[in-house]
């Protein structure tokens, strides 16, 4: 047992409001500069949709992540080290600017500086790269809220396994819905970006598992851009190096939550330490597709288990980190409560960001109705809506059931469980059982036997249901983010520097930047 600690994340999709505050928080601090304009370390996608960059989930196009090597093991799908040298100068699987977007701005100053003329000035769009007028055809959030459904949502790669009728139904009044998928770097246990880097510039930090690209070492080969199946590594065209989400380590080290999590106004995000057994990475990542989720969860260790604690200490995991792991909200959601799932486990990177799947409104039905006769009676002034149908969404029970929910479960399973419908369904049923239980506790107008049955089926006691409810609804900031102490004093000491002297000296001298490649 090789016990290590990993800061992990849970995003509760049922609570996500799709506001993109997280994206802006991140951009303001980290990527609001030349060469980084198009980088969205944190972005939010509408599902169904094609996301950013377009169709990133389709590895037939991008060749990201890992694949089985035919010998019971796995290999990088597109940019493995063995192949990389020949690909350095020509990488056919890179997203192009059209898959991202050409960053644009406007000639705002024209509004203030335009000479007197015959027509009102307007600030026309221009390229941030060339400064020339441009026609905006794509952006980092282009298919937000089902924008351009025909061209985007209907081409969501996750629809591939659905029948045409099922696909069509997802966009009809009675079955339509959408939800949001916020994404950051998954800080994977089996990170393809790390494995792909020819320069060895990418690494996981030992104390917290944060994956970083060393800006001194990176040579801009961009293998990580291809290898990351989530497309969360970006090439900075100004510095000539790649950059990615750093999980706001400077904030974590100061005890702050990452900016995207701090700013999450839907309060959907949780962060905490999980201890895992690094000896089992290879085995878990190589498992049969049907077992991927289960194997990954198996790796996550009980932080109260004395053996785990002993092994952790032996590996140098700090007591304070073990304590954090014991209070970790993510451990509860992911392991103890079985409520959260990784995104696209079939990419085999063992992502450490997990998602609680969302509930959706119940289906409705639409019946033909010829209302011409009635319509003729409407007051002469009154507007008539010439629809030949009536929409019905009446249900007998107070809430709908999971089986009545909009969207086939297969769609969710394609996202979160490599196709395992049961894994998604059991989690949604849990959420619904908790709602019923809380209804009983707060109103008492639901049949108690029905509630008990639902709890039992979901494998929940009332007590556990209340605990989940607390963390879902009432949690305070410190419940949602349990940040392990960074022990910066120890890190500084390991540099053979006197911590006391650092106290007095830090910040003097010039701020340290990294040079542009070739500079």
């Amino acid at each position: 047992m090789d016990v290590r600690s990993q800061i992990s994340m849970v995003f509760h999709l049922d609570k996500c409001i799709g506001c993109h505050t997280c994206s802006v928080a991140c951009k303001n601090i980290w990527t609001d500069r030349k060469g980084a304009e198009y980088m969205w370390w944190n972005n939010v996608e509408t599902k169904p949709g094609t996301g950013y960059p377009g169709k990133w989930e389709n590895q037939d196009i991008y060749k990201g992540g890992w694949e089985e090597d035919g010998n019971g093991g796995i290999r990088l799908k597109g940019a493995g080290k063995p192949k990389s040298l020949s690909n350095i100068f020509h990488n056919p699987h890179m997203p192009s600017i059209d898959d991202y977007y050409e960053p644009f701005t406007y000639k705002y100053l024209d509004l203030i500086e335009a000479e007197a003329g015959d027509i009102q000035p307007t600030a026309r769009p221009v390229s941030m790269i060339t400064g020339e007028p441009m026609d905006i055809q794509m952006g980092p959030n282009w298919d937000d809220d089902l924008s351009g459904t025909p061209d985007y949502a209907r081409k969501d790669p996750n629809l591939e396994d659905l029948s045409e009728a099922e696909q069509e139904a997802m966009f009809q009044l009675e079955r339509m819905a959408f939800f949001y998928l916020p994404r950051i770097c998954n800080h994977c246990l089996n990170a393809a970006c790390v494995a792909s880097c020819p320069s060895g510039a990418i690494y996981k930090r030992g104390e917290d598992g944060v994956v970083l690209i060393n800006q001194d070492v990176c040579r801009g080969w961009r293998m990580c851009v291809t290898a990351c199946p989530y497309k969360k590594s970006y090439y900075n065209w100004d510095t000539g190096k790649s950059e990615k989400c750093i999980l706001c380590y400077p904030r974590l080290e100061s005890g702050y939550a990452p900016a995207c999590m701090h700013s999450c106004v839907g309060r959907i995000r949780y962060l905490g330490v999980i201890l895992y057994d690094a000896d089992r990475i290879e085995e878990a990542a190589s498992a049969d597709e049907s077992e991927l989720v289960e194997r990954q969860l198996d790796m996550l260790l009980d932080p109260f288990d004395p053996e785990v604690i002993a092994a952790a200490k032996e590996n140098g995991v700090a007591d304070s980190t073990i304590e954090s792991a014991q209070n970790s909200p993510t451990y509860k959601f992911v392991k103890e409560w079985d409520l959260a799932l990784p995104l696209h486990p079939e990419f085999r990177t063992l992502p450490m960001l997990f998602y609680v799947p969302p509930l959706l409104p119940v289906m409705a039905s639409v019946a033909d109705a010829n209302d011409n006769a009635q319509r003729e009676k409407i007051h002469d002034i009154g507007k008539k809506w010439p629809d030949e149908w009536v929409y019905d969404t009446s249900i007998d029970q107070l809430f709908g059931t999971i089986d009545d929910a909009r969207f086939p479960l297969e769609y969710m399973a394609s996202l979160f469980s490599a196709g395992d419908v049961e894994a998604v369904k059991s989690r949604l049923e849990k959420l619904m059982a908790i709602r019923l239980h809380r209804r009983r506790e707060t109103v008492g107008d639901v049949d108690s036997a029905t509630v008990d049955k639902a709890l039992k089926k979901a494998g929940l006691t009332g007590q556990r249901a209340n605990a989940i409810y607390y963390l879902t609804s009432l949690a305070k900031f410190d419940d949602r983010f349990v940040i392990p102490p960074a022990h910066r004093e120890q890190a500084i000491e390991m540099l053979d520097e006197d911590v006391g002297a650092t106290k007095g000296e830090t910040g003097f001298g010039f701020k340290r930047g990294t040079n542009k490649r070739g500079a």
């Binding site: 799709g18 106004v265 409104p361």
Partner: protein
Amino acid sequence: MGWIKDIISPQTRKWEEFYRNRFQHDRVVRSTHGVNCTGGCSWQIHVKDGIVTWETQQLDYPLLEDSLPPYEPRGCQRGMSYSWYLYSPLRIKYPLVRGALIDAYRAKKRETGDPMAAWKALQDDEEARRDYQKARGKGGFRRTTWEEVLEIMAVANISTAEEYGPDRVVGFSPIPAMSMLSYAAGSRFLQLFGGLNLSFYDWYCDLPTAFPEIWGEQTDVCESADWYNSKMIADMGANLNMTRTPDCHFFAEARHNGTKTVVFAPDFSQVSKFADQWVPLHAGSDGAYWMAVTHVILNEFHHKKKTPYFLDYVKQYTDSPHLVKLDKRDDGSLHPGRLLRASELSDYSDVDEGDWKFVNIDAESGEFVVPRGSSGCRWDDEDGNWSLEMRDSVSGEDYDPVLTLLERSDQVEEVEFTDFGLDNTASRGVPVMEVETEDGTELVTTIYDLIMAQYGVDRGLKGDYPSGYDDKDAAYTPAWQEIFTGVSGDTVLQFARQWGNTAESTGGKCMIIIGAGINHWYHANLMYRAGAMALMLTGCVGKNGGGLNHYVGQEKLAPVDAWGAVAFGKDWQSAVRLQQAPLWHYINTCQYRYDGHFKRYNTVPDNEMTQKHTADLIYKSVRMGNMPFFPQFDVNTLDLCEEAEVHGAQTNEEIEDYVLEKLKRKKVDYAVGDPEAESNFPRVWYIWRGNAVMGSMKGHEYCLKHYLGTHHNTIAGDSEDRTEDVVWRDEAPEGKMDLLVNLNFRMDSSALYCDIVLPAASWYEKADLNSTDLHSFIHPLSAAIPPVWESKTDWNIFRELAKATSEAAEEYFPGVKKDIVAGPISHDSSGEISQPHVKDWYEGECEAIPGETMHKLTVVERDYTKLYDKFITLGDRICDSGLGAHGTHYEIEDVFDEMVESNHFPVDQRNGKSLPSIEDAEQAANAILKLSTLTNSGLTKRAYEGIEKKTGQDLSDLSESGAHEGHLTYADLQAQPRRYNTSPVWSGLMNDGRAYAAYTQNVERLIPWRTLTGRQHFYLDHEMYLAFGENLPTYKPSPKPRAYGDLRKTLENDEARILNCLTPHGKWHIHSTYMENHRMLTLSRGCEPVWLSEPDAEAMDIQDNDWVEVHNDHGVYAARCTVSSRIPKGVCIVYHVPERTVSIPKSQVRDGERAGGHNSFTRIHLKPNFLAGGYGQFTYHFNYWGPIAPNRDTHVVIHKMTHVEF
């Protein structure tokens, strides 16, 4: 291959400093955003190297009750991107003036050698004036100095006051709550000057007129934490993710606590993802759905089950047991009429204010009783009778009111009820009884019985009752509503039953969250009333977790009692000029000329009151004191007072009498009666904190044409329907305004069209206060950095303007002047029981008595040389008048003296008096916090004592457990968010961390609503409501396109696909703010697109991202198109407000003229029944009552652009 190794080595990781350096910062300051989003979020502004680098949310909100989720974090994607503006290319860094104006002014100044003479000469030079007007909006800005622009503004102010009167100087700034002192700066200046402030809440159509109608309240709603207390939430017209972004989590979290959620929206709006059920009602048909819901609730829970909780609730808290007279028409038909008054009964005929006291029947004795709590009990001389205790106001005896006459009277008469939807009249049996009144025998029934009949609840009485829920022809059955909503009757049935059961099980924890998606329709009040009925009938109002919670605009200015005095100069003078904006713009932008008769689009019964043009009815309402209108008269009010004095008037009263006589003899006339006369133009317009020319300007193109006199895109012509009383001139003037001034931090659409643009400090550069109804804290705005470049705070700009104007007055207009203010009769004064009938003195229908049958007349002294002195000090008039709001009143003299004596408040010596200084905004903030019941517990107690006296209820505990110790200061608010006190200014109880919910004070502490009866109103018996068919809750369909008149010219020779254009609040901006923010444009589509359904797009051969033009007679908007499956057929959405400054091409349908914004295709339509006045809750107050300016019923056509040119 080797598996991934973690790296621990610090040497290898030394580069990590790279990102650490970026994160380090120097200073964090608490501020917020003064934007009308209703969020009111507390932010950390990060400063590094003296530059604001980013912002993130504060997390230190104090917790409310243990059972509620916390408020942190609050703040959205828009707020998070604000810092972009600070140093953006849109930033106004220096004073700007349009070249055409400044060249002409400088030339005149060279000629005359004098600023005042130069300004007058410029205005007298018709050609020069037209030239700079035509240049508006077309570039040519020049950088200038503060000195020069202050000089121009000062002489324009003084010249206007001297020549036309001060009430030709106008100001518009919206929603003070978002930055109270920035608003107050301009309003204080204008009111001290004698100018006018335009209202905003009604103008934005955010005022839910149903609130005054039902509750006598502008708006009062629960804070967002209280959503969590609800067990069934119906969300309609409020897209919570998009528009209540920081609050939406309470909605999501409530679901996990077992709350049922149903979302009503025609499109799959963003909040629909949180729904248990999504109900896509046809746009604007929500009222029909709720009428049917109430039909089921009445039938099943009231009639059949007689749910005790519901019946007890409506007896005590609603007007339902009140008796109503039935009017017999000439054809013999009976119609619901006016409420029976105590004065009409011989036993009560001598009761004080008996016209304003009403009648119930006591169940036990069968005798009449006159309930406590009515407006008569409020304004009579007796104390202790104004409460909701069920006691007779005369005898003091307990009573149990009779709800229905069903088992008390054998007499059943058929009464006529109109279904405006299917254009039906139903004659339905109603139990009645005969009453002997002073005027003879009258038939009466209860409001409850009328409601049962109106809703078609079959109680076995004769007449045209529905045969069952599936009776399609009978209003308001579940089957009937299908034709309007497109939603099945079964959906209604199931919903109504779950609603009733939940309310019964929880004691009223069902709520409606409602917003602009409903309130922006022409018949919004009826839709709101329809929903409110379902709430009141199930006891869900005045309960935590219940209520009609309307969130449209950040109207809740918590410390309004003290703020009002500072903002409107009431510390110096007794009368103000506060203008109802919708009717003002309707008249002054000449939009009434294009409107036609309201009967073309409003289904109203045909009777004497529904005959005239809306403009004529406005004119009448102004004469009667029901609505304000400034400019008041066709003469200068300063000259008028001087004339009175020349004619021997010595006192203010004598001047008032002189003017009254002139009005009566029609020797002075009202400006509103002849709005196209040059003498009646508004002349100088100050715009700050808002986008008055474009963002909020319904009929924007008419504004460009008639106010500004520049290019425009309207093709509409005068309507054939002419006014009768308002003078109709053949030519409508273009370019009424002499000068437009804009204070702004960015070049928005309004700034682009103004003559002078002043650089204003941004929200991270000034001190101010902010409150909202979404939470119960007061937040500060603070200066993280000083104002950048040459910008100044709004407070300081108006202070400088006051100084410059005073200095100009010394030279050109010295001395004390008298001014006479004609103000409307106001709500929360005894004037609200002054007009029992609609009688117009002007037509000789009654005597002209100011403050009763007509507007008030008040003489005010103006000394323009003292404007500055008054601006910067707090006047001691409030020591005599006291302070108050919403009917409260308290004395503050001792606190005022304390401020003068205390070392903590700066003092200014002016004109021989020591007064508290409010020279800067922080001082003004501290004065307000010291003087408000919301923030000073000593005053809270005092205000409650006043209410105790009138109500006879013991309320002393409320100021103890619900208030802070002592008073709050600005520095306290900067340290941590502070909850304000429970106060009688508002209606919610907040003691011990309880979430604020409206009307809990009324329900639990028996304080009446400020309405006619003191109860919540099912029934509205004002004569205009009877005449307009809105006395009972009813359904009127949205008008069809041709009736509304948007497309007369557009479709003259053309058949096109007509779409209902909806303009709901969007995701990437708050109105126009943030819309052109680079961050938001990047995350959206680089413009504000037009959303179209897949079938409509296909039919018009439009692809996603094509350029299209949206147009009608009024104007045109051009943008890209977004095709989406979540949009229903027949509608298109343009989220408001696009700026016309960014990425707007030239229009092809308007010959290459620049296309406009979303208000380019709107025009004002008003509902005349909102002009009622002097009658209980139907009495004017600023932003409280009057016609609202809807935009949702607008229809457009769309053309694909073949050529895009900027």
